[in-house]
Amino acid sequence: MIDVIDRVPTNAGRVKLIPVAGQANTYDMVRADNPTVAGTSINRALLMAMQGFAASKTVFNADGSITETGDSGTMETVFNSDGSIVETFTGKSGNSIVRTTVVNTDGSITQTIS
């Protein structure tokens, strides 16, 4: 998994136009949005990871839980006695996100994100 972080600019959309020497009406456009958080690039690494190509180590713990550690964070999967499954991803940024899966008595499945 990849800990996807939003870019947080202080001047959203701002760019600098730098004239290219010797070429009329041609400019290099450079971001000038002064981000407080640079954000995760939308690039090959991200998109390939979304297809499963991300390095990780999976450990099956003695208590039945599973810990999967990757370059950008850790996923803990806990199988509760009530049949629910709680998956917690904690990124290296410190942000965490939780998916709870519950099999309902009518056979439906509810997943919540928190």
Binding site: I5, G39, T40, S41, I42, N43, R44, M48
Partner: protein, 226 residues
Amino acid sequence: MASKVVSVILENSITYVSGYVNGIEYTFTLTAENTWSAEVATSDDNIYRLVLTAIDNNGNVSTISTTLYYGLNLITDRTQGDVNRYLYLKNKNFHEMTTEEQMEWVSDLRGAYNVTDLSRVEGAMDYLVERLKENGYYVNGLKLKRLWNMKYIPSHADMEQYLDNVRFIRSVFATMTSTPSVPDSMVHFTYKEANDIEQILFDVDYLITEMVKAMFYSNDLFAGEV
């Protein structure tokens, strides 16, 4: 204090490695097959001078001196004049040289291709492999020696691997039409071929930088944009 992990690849009979990196003493640990590493204080110029003592499984002790370069330290503009200067000094007895010529001779002459160049270029390759990996590009087949030193005479196989490493990096990423081809061989190696090898690495680094500049980020775009 900022630190960096430096690694050397040694014979598989080695069982203990310690020594000095930029004058500070460290003990190295075996971190991968034949690979000994230590976490050392970061050097401002990204150059790490190692003087190591290695002990093998028969108790034999050897001293290894090498310089590791990290980051890009590339030379792409050697000239025939540089080669001529090297040949002029080479044909002169060291004791007949002026003091300035002697200092020039023991420095890294641009017209020569020696252990410093091999180490420097491998450092650049190592740096590029990491940059490529950060962006989802994996260079397979690369084998860096990381232990060039004056006592070790490179073999034909070493030089073939050296060129193959450049080939692997060149083939895994985009290049410009002006990016040179990898020399076929290190036999009768010319200053132009030396420049070409480093120009390839420079071009790959440049294109990675340009690619990253053009990237969008999470929270930049909405569906249907761009």
